[in-house]
C-alpha cells in the first residue's frame, strides 16, 4: 500500500499546493481520492498514468475536489482506447448528474466525444493505440454513495460517513480505506464532527483538512464547516489516530514559523505522529522511521 499526497492546497491558486487530491496504490488498484485542479498534474509527476487509475472517490462536489475529474476521465478514456475497464466513480449525489452534464449527450464534452469517436483521424489514432471495433464513448461506472455505505474492493474496503461541510447545499463525505497493510482515513472537507471521530478510530493515517488557525474563524458557521488546528489535534487524540497528516493548507498557516507553531500547539493536545503535508509527499503508512546516519 502506497499513499501519496497529490494536492494539499485550497481553492486559492498556488503553484506550491494544488487543490485536493490523494492517491493510494494497493495491488493492481489505483484509487484516487478527490481530484481538484492541479491534482492530475501531480499524478503525472508521481509517474502514474491516468489509464492506471481504477477508482475515483469524490468526497464532495466543490470544484477544488473534482475540477480535474474531466481531465482524468477524458485522458484515461482516450489513452485507454477501449482496452481498459471503465473508471469506477464514487461520490455523493448528484455526482451522477454532474457526470452526465460533463460526458453524456448534451453535456459539456459531448462535441469532443462525438468528434473523437466519429472523425476518421481520431478513429485511426484509436486503432494505432490498439483499439478495435467501433470506438465507444466513455461510460464511467458511477455509484452514488450514502452515509455508511461500504465499497468492497476484494482486498480492501472503503467506508463512507457524512461529515460537517457546507450542507445542505452540498453533501460531503469522509472515507476510510481498510487494507491488510494499514488503514487510511480521509476527512474530505470537514469541521469537527462525531462521525469523523468514529470513522478515524485507531486508524494508521488520518489525512485531514487543517484550514485555519483556531480562533481566527470568520464565524460559527465557518468553524462548523472547516477545521482549525486545535480541533484537529483534539480529534486525533480522541480517536487514537497514529499519524495525522495536515492538508488543505491555507496561506494563513503556511508561513515560516507559523506552521511550526501549529505543530507545537497540536503536539500539546495530540501525542501521535504529525506530518505537515506537502504535494507529492509519500506518507509512511506505518509511521515515520528515522533512518540511520550516514
Amino acid at each position: 500500500m502506497r499513499l501519496r499526497l497529490l494536492g494539499t492546497g485550497t481553492p486559492t491558486p498556488s503553484l506550491k499546493r494544488m487543490c485536493s487530491g490523494y492517491v493510494v496504490e494497493i495491488g493492481d488498484d489505483v484509487l484516487v481520492f478527490d481530484h481538484g485542479f492541479g491534482a492530475h498534474h501531480r499524478l503525472l509527476e508521481c509517474g502514474i498514468r491516468p489509464t492506471q487509475v481504477t477508482h475515483f472517490f469524490c468526497s464532495h462536489l466543490h470544484y477544488d475536489h473534482m475540477g480535474d475529474y474531466p481531465r482524468l476521465l477524458l485522458t484515461r478514456w482516450d489513452q485507454g482506447a477501449g482496452k481498459i475497464p471503465e473508471l469506477k466513480v464514487y461520490g455523493p449525489p448528484p455526482i451522477r448528474e454532474v457526470t452526465k452534464a460533463l460526458f453524456e449527450k448534451g453535456g459539456a464534452f459531448w462535441p469532443d466525444l462525438v468528434a473523437r469517436t466519429e472523425n476518421l483521424c481520431s478513429v485511426q489514432i484509436y486503432r494505432a493505440r490498439g483499439g478495435t471495433g467501433e470506438r465507444k464513448k466513455p461510460v464511467p461506472e458511477v455509484t452514488e454513495l450514502h452515509p455508511n455505505d461500504v465499497v468492497n474492493g476484494g482486498h480492501w474496503k472503503v467506508t463512507t460517513v457524512g461529515v460537517a461541510h457546507f450542507g445542505p447545499q452540498l453533501i460531503s463525505y469522509g472515507f476510510r480505506l481498510d487494507t491488510p497493510e494499514g488503514s487510511f482515513v480521509y476527512s474530505g472537507d470537514s469541521g469537527p464532527c462525531a462521525s469523523m471521530e468514529r470513522l478515524a478510530k485507531d486508524c494508521d493515517v488520518l489525512v485531514h483538512m487543517c484550514h485555519y488557525l483556531s480562533g481566527t474563524e470568520l464565524g460559527p458557521e465557518f468553524a462548523e464547516s472547516c477545521m482549525g488546528h486545535r480541533e484537529l489535534a483534539a480529534l486525533g487524540a480522541k480517536a487514537g489516530v497514529k499519524t495525522i497528516v495536515i492538508t488543505h493548507v491555507t496561506e494563513q498557516i503556511d508561513q515560516p514559523g507559523v506552521r511550526e507553531r501549529v505543530l507545537r500547539e497540536m503536539g500539546e493536545l495530540y501525542q501521535g505522529n504529525l506530518i505537515f503535508g506537502e504535494d507529492l509527499m509519500e506518507i509512511p503508512v506505518r509511521g515515520p522511521v528515522a533512518a540511520k546516519l550516514d
Binding site: 481566527t216 494563513q252 514559523g257 507559523v258 511550526e260 509512511p284 515515520p288
Partner: protein, 295 residues
C-alpha cells in the same frame, strides 16, 4: 533587512537542498554568508545577480560552504566590467591563499582570466558592457578574520566567534550581524552546546543553526560536538534566549515526513521561542513570524 536561505543542505547532493548559503540584504549591501555548491543557483532564483553582491563571509573552508565562490567571483568580475567595486571577502585563514590559488596569476583560473583580458573578442564584450580598457585582473579585497574580530559596515556590525567544528584542521567561525532592523546569528557548522556560540547568539532575533542529524544517532561522542543535532541546538537556542531559531544543514536522515515534525516537537519542549524549519529560498521573518488574517 532581508534574510533569505539559499542552501539548507549538506555535502550530499540534493536538488531540494543546495549546500550552505545565506543572503542578507541590509541597506544597499548584499551579503552572502557561505556559498556552497548550488547556493549561487538559488541566489539567481531569488532574483539577485552576482554584480549585486557586495560582501561574502565564509564560516569555514569546507567545500560545501565555499565552492560557489569561484562562480560568484568570476561571474561578478566578468559582468561587472570594472564598473563595480571589488568583492569584499571575509573568512578564516587560509582564505587569502585559497583566493590566490584560484584567481592569482598562477591560479587555477589564470588561463581564463588571461584570455578574457587579452583576447580582442573578450575586450570587445567588456567594452559593450561599459568597461574602459585596459581590462583589469580581479582583485577581491580579502580580510582574514580572527575569532574575536568585528567588521564594521555602513550601518551594521558583524561579530566573529569560534564555532565548534573541525579545528584544528580548519578554522571555523560563527557570525552575528547587528543593525537597526535586527540581529541575525549564524552558527556556521557547529555542534554540541558551545559556550562561545551561546555568548554570540545572546538575545538575537534569529539564530540560523546547523541541525545535521537526529540526536542519539551519532557514531561517536566527538561527532556530536562537531555537528549540530536537535537536542543540542535546542539547548543553545534556549540558553542564548534566541527569539527565532532557523534550522538548517539537514541530512536526508531527518528530512522525512513525520521525522522533522518529531524533531520540532522535541525542540519545542526545551526551547520556547519561534522555530523555523529552513527551506531553500525561504525568506525568514527577522522579527518573528507574522500572523495573517483568515480570508
Amino acid at each position: 533587512m532581508k534574510l533569505t536561505l539559499l542552501g539548507t543542505g549538506t555535502p550530499t547532493p540534493s536538488l531540494k537542498r543546495a549546500s550552505s548559503g545565506y543572503m542578507l540584504e541590509v541597506g544597499v549591501d548584499v551579503m552572502l554568508w557561505d556559498h556552497g555548491p548550488g547556493a549561487y543557483h538559488r541566489m539567481m532564483e531569488a532574483g539577485k545577480r552576482a554584480v549585486d553582491v557586495s560582501h561574502v563571509f565564509f564560516s569555514h573552508l569546507h567545500y560545501d560552504h565555499c565552492s560557489d565562490y569561484v562562480r560568484l567571483l568570476l561571474t561578478r568580475w566578468d559582468q561587472g566590467a570594472d564598473r563595480i567595486p571589488e568583492l569584499k571577502v571575509y573568512g578564516p585563514p587560509p582564505i587569502r591563499r585559497m583566493t590566490e590559488q584560484l584567481f592569482g596569476e598562477d591560479g587555477a583560473f589564470a588561463p581564463d582570466l588571461t584570455a578574457r583580458i587579452k583576447h580582442q573578442g573578450s575586450i570587445d564584450i567588456f567594452v559593450t558592457r561599459g568597461g574602459v580598457p585596459p581590462r583589469k585582473w580581479p582583485k577581491p579585497e580579502i580580510t582574514e578574520l580572527k575569532p574575536t574580530d568585528k567588521v564594521q559596515g555602513k550601518n551594521w556590525t558583524l561579530t566573529v566567534a569560534p564555532a565548534s567544528h573541525v579545528q584544528p584542521w580548519l578554522e571555523c567561525y560563527a557570525y552575528r550581524l547587528d543593525c537597526d532592523e535586527g540581529s541575525v546569528c549564524y552558527s556556521g557548522d557547529s555542534g554540541g552546546v558551545a559556550p562561545a556560540l551561546i555568548e554570540l547568539a545572546k538575545g538575537c532575533d534569529v539564530l540560523i543553526h546547523m541541525n545535521h542529524y537526529f540526536s542519539g544517532t551519532e557514531p561517536t561522542d566527538i561527532y556530536r560536538v562537531v555537528c549540530g543535532n536537535h537536542e543540542d541546538v535546542a539547548q543553545v537556542a534556549q540558553q542564548a534566549g534566541v527569539k527565532t531559531l532557523v534550522l538548517t544543514h539537514f541530512l536526508e536522515q531527518i528530512d522525512q515526513p513525520g521525522v522533522r515534525e518529531h524533531i520540532l516537537r522535541e525542540i519545542g519542549k526545551v526551547y520556547s521561542g519561534n522555530i523555523v524549519w529552513g527551506e531553500d529560498l525561504m525568506q525568514v521573518p527577522v522579527k518573528g513570524p507574522k500572523m495573517f488574517r483568515m480570508e
